[in-house]
Symmetry: C2
């Protein structure tokens, strides 16, 4: 099976050709997500056609195209339901119609965190484990679950994927989602710069002399003993650890996969969360394993093939 | 179909005969849960036989017996996996073997919150809704979910039912489950007396003159304007509301059913949680409805029939 794969992000769109679980070729184009999606789709199609040509593959011989998109998705109708402040027209577009007309291929689409988990589950760090949860730590916090070999989606497609919007502080700050004190608003790239600058020790910290105050800087300076960075690191690890225990308590996984940009510091994060889970998760059956994602950016691309196949099997039924 | 039904609690064991979704007859015996379960099972069998005799039903003509039990359950092997400080020998007993020998009936068993939800879903406040969550507010907080007509159980039987052990305060107090700052340790009957006595306004509150400081007293006195009771009520409502939003974010339900002893004050609790959900749950598809359970103590009993039927269908497959 050969599929086209598109992974939409806020700043980059990753494109690829996937065959039997491997990415044959891939490239990245700018998202330009302040523009309408309708116009950006033409650039996506052109880039995919160029990629196919380079590989000597006729676009029309592919089995389908899969989209990974950071939103709640109406999978049945291939519609983007939610806003995340990017591609303002996204929810108005008939993606399946576009794909049929422009590429003559069937299209399947699902949420990006769910796609990352599907990719890791079938071909990466979740392989062989039919009960696993992913937590992607990045600009936001993405979550998804596979329970007893079943990708958890829910009737409105939002089961699992709002796991980053679990409240950990009922009286905490307002989140963009409408909820209060969410994990995402307590420890993610979108908020850490602000949290750092608000920290009483920030002024006297080496952090204040960094060009970019992000988790890479915090983990680097914390390792050197910078007090403010250590405090911010510990505070974030506590949020992520408590979130992971919550997800274990609701989804009953055997493995928790951590992904996303912040996992550049995975060598610190994985053992810290594993230790917390062993102390605080209630799992009388045994021990949940915490691991780092292994496919990185390719997880959602390889998941596109699985998604197209799932769609085809449904159509055949 | 006619089934025997047993709902084990910490202080009472409820027994019944259920036919086609209705409780034909029921009675209650003392749990004596400080004693071994092995000896208490004989009292259960004798009470069920007496109940059958009163109804002119030969025990052997029943289709099976269902147990609702407050623990993590290994449903396949009909084993009680977890301790809750009662019936210390529970995990050592072969319940299926006992039922076969003592009553000559097949036995099915599941967790009590899950059974309450199954009962409400098939015959009560969840009827017609194949995406629903229950939260039972009582000594502890029980949770369970039905997602797309599927009772969420998980590979170790603990999916959903540990929802009361979602952390809402990462730095909060230790819970009996091993986790910290769980909803159950922030607002349940097991902790509210202690929380009340620790409240700075307790000494000058009418609560201090109550024989029993429980939620019934708190809601009664709060309605009269007692400041300490109002504070405790609001604090608990915030915990339960945040918990319900968290469960909506992970399970994607259309309806949330509230049950348990504390729901004697349901006329205050339901609208408060409904209003919070409307403000803070991220559900672009529409509105989650919060309702009160309608079957009370009978929910788990009627669920026993469903559970036995499910077990029989599996055996026949």
């Amino acid at each position: 099976m050969t599929c086209l794969a598109v992974d939409f992000g806020g700043t980059r769109i990753k494109l690829g050709i996937v065959r039997d679980g491997s990415v044959l070729a891939h490239r990245v184009i700018a998202a330009q997500s302040d523009q309408p999606l309708a116009s950006r789709l033409e650039a996506v199609a052109a880039a995919l056609e160029a990629l196919c040509q380079e590989q000597g593959i006729a676009t029309g011989t592919c089995d389908g195209i899969g989209f990974s998109y950071p939103s709640i998705i109406d999978r049945r109708n291939a519609r983007i339901l939610d806003h995340f402040g990017k591609f303002g027209d996204a929810s108005t577009i008939d993606l399946r119609g576009w794909s049929r007309e422009r590429l003559r291929l069937p299209l399947a689409i699902d949420n990006d965190a769910r796609m990352a988990l599907i990719g890791e589950w079938r071909h990466g760090a979740g392989r062989g484990c039919d009960n696993c949860v992913i937590v992607t730590l990045g600009t936001g916090i993405g979550v998804s679950a596979v329970i007893e070999s079943h990708v958890l989606r829910g009737v409105h497609g939002q089961a699992g994927i709002l796991g980053g919007h679990i409240t950990l502080q009922p009286a905490g700050p307002q989140c963009v989602c409408g909820n209060k004190g969410c994990a995402e608003v307590a420890a993610s790239t979108s908020v850490i710069g602000k949290l750092a600058r608000e920290h009483p020790a920030f002024g006297s910290s080496a952090l204040a002399r960094e060009d970019v105050v992000d988790y890479a800087a915090i983990f680097r300076l914390a390792a050197k003993g910078d007090a403010c960075s250590v405090a911010l690191r510990e505070q974030s690890l506590q949020v992520w650890s408590a979130l992971v225990v919550n997800l274990i308590h609701v989804f009953d996984p055997e493995r928790v996969i951590l992904g996303g940009g912040i996992m550049g510091s995975g060598s610190v994060i994985v053992p810290a969360i594993q230790a917390y889970v062993e102390r605080h998760a209630h799992t009388p059956w045994g021990k949940v394993t915490v691991v780092q994602s292994s496919l990185g950016d390719h997880a959602a691309l390889v998941a596109c093939e699985w998604l197209v196949q799932e769609e085809m099997e449904k159509v055949l039924k």
